[in-house]
Subunit: 299 residues, 2 copies
């Protein structure tokens, strides 16, 4: 297994490559009237962040020995989708948060209308970016990868997860229901990153199924730790307000089980996630690092 | 030329086919927690509306003698994108409108958070729908069509047009600037409908360029008449509030030139639009009907 230091360097490298691609994808426009929209998009998408979804995408390419360079923009598109979801999530009508990645949220730095449009623009443009021809990748594969991302980001995953959380806010939830919501709200976009990379590499259906299960369990582990950190950490460390779940009357793993048992559940989910990679060889070792990293993160 | 009655029937048929596809694309989910999101999506997307973008898409298929059935879902996806833009446009932070297509706007019928998510879901799912394999259409073409739609709905068109309108709200604008905003805000999605159909049919670059110019001029004509109706019509006839432009301090063709001169400008743009179809044969006659219909509409 790889050292923790090497894994941190791997993530840092993935983040640098993603940010270079994002910077190139979203240049400052010439027309003054369009400037504010672009500034809001860039403000949110270039605000740091760990770039975990692009990193997962790259680690999946590694598992298939695929080169990274032809896919930088596809990876960046995944981060654009993630960022759009954060911008809309933070809106006053949603979680009403003022801080994100250590800086004012988009609607605080600009205004609500601009934040709505910046989210819409990032989401829409992500698909334009994913549709750009990629050298030596058959269009069928690319179409399937794009379709998978839009399904998992949309009614097959993320948006439905957010809507379900909203609909059930304030109600006590059984653990099985939380699992289901977390799989969609958080697991789906991890799955989108891993599955789209695998599809672009020509993965088999069996491989895709295993990677989907891996991502879903990992999403559960990640989200449970998110709940714990929302209870136990500080805004300084997280770069976003703590106590958000309580403020929004949200029933979580941490409130259901307590922080210790929640951490234990996350650890179990992380181990199960890695278990799904049993039929992959050593090239998938980087993918094997993520679940454990997610469980032990402090922000 | 075709009779006006036949054209109305053509539009009605296109609307029926689009609505059948939309109904099939968005079934009621089994999970109770997801029901409200789907209800909001269906509420807005099945609220009537003229289905002009799918109709333009179908008329373009006609111009290339392509059958319609394999493309119903693609056409429906265009309407999903149009509907998402209306839902977000109507939000309190944007135009803050209470009425749309003769019924309460999505955030009035449900709530703001649900309206934001329903818009996000319709937009995201539209791309999943467009990525579904289409029999006998090469994946390269489909990828290009999808990429064109996302470009024109996003930073290459609609979202940028809305952002520019917002940024310039309250400022007096020159006619050239209005033309530019209208081309993006309204023309771009017409262009997305026409161009994606043409790409799916294997149109040449010359044909695509002509159709893009046609759509842009038609968008101008459509939007100018929108301005006029916002001044001259009634909420009963329009199914949405009048005086919205004045409420939002929006400088329009109608406020710049007066309604009569604005109507004249729309008529000129409509004629120019048809002029761009000069190299298409009689199979494009239905496309030739749209600009005139747009100028003479009363709602």
């Amino acid at each position: 297994m790889m050292e923790r230091r090497d894994f941190s360097e791997y993530l840092a490298q993935a983040a640098r490559e993603t940010e270079q691609a994002l910077d190139a994808i979203l240049p400052e426009p010439e027309a003054a009237a369009e400037r504010q929209l672009y500034q809001a998009m860039r403000y949110s998408v270039l605000a740091g962040g760990k770039r975990l979804r692009p990193a997962l995408f790259f680690a999946t390419l590694d598992a298939f020995s695929a080169p990274r360079a032809p896919f930088f923009h596809f990876a960046a598109a995944l981060e654009m989708i993630h960022t759009y979801s954060l911008i809309h999530d933070d809106l006053p009508a949603m979680d009403d948060d003022d801080l994100r990645r250590g800086q004012p949220t988009c609607h605080k730095a600009f205004d609500e209308a601009t934040a709505i449009l910046a989210g819409d623009a990032l989401l829409t443009h992500a698909f334009a970016v994913m549709a750009r021809p990629i050298l030596q990748v058959p269009a069928e594969r690319q179409l399937k990868a794009l379709g998978t991302v839009s399904w998992l980001a949309g009614v097959g995953g993320m948006v439905v997860g957010q809507a379900a959380e909203l609909a059930l806010s304030g109600q006590p939830l059984a653990r099985a229901m939380l699992d289901c919501i977390y799989a969609k709200k958080t697991g789906a976009l991890f799955s989108a990153a891993v599955s789209s990379a695998a599809i672009l590499c020509g993965a088999s259906d069996v491989q895709l199924h295993a990677l989907g299960c891996y991502a879903e369990k990992m999403g559960l582990a990640f989200q449970v730790i998110d709940d714990v950190l929302d209870m136990e950490s500080t805004a300084d460390v997280l770069g976003k307000p703590v106590g958000s779940d309580e403020k929004n009357s949200r029933y979580t793993y941490a409130s259901l089980l307590g922080c210790d048992a929640a951490r234990h559940a996350a650890q179990t989910a992380a181990e199960e996630a890695v278990g799904y990679l049993v039929d992959f060889d050593r090239r998938a070792d980087m993918l094997r690092q993520f679940p454990d990293f997610f469980v032990n993160r402090i922000s």
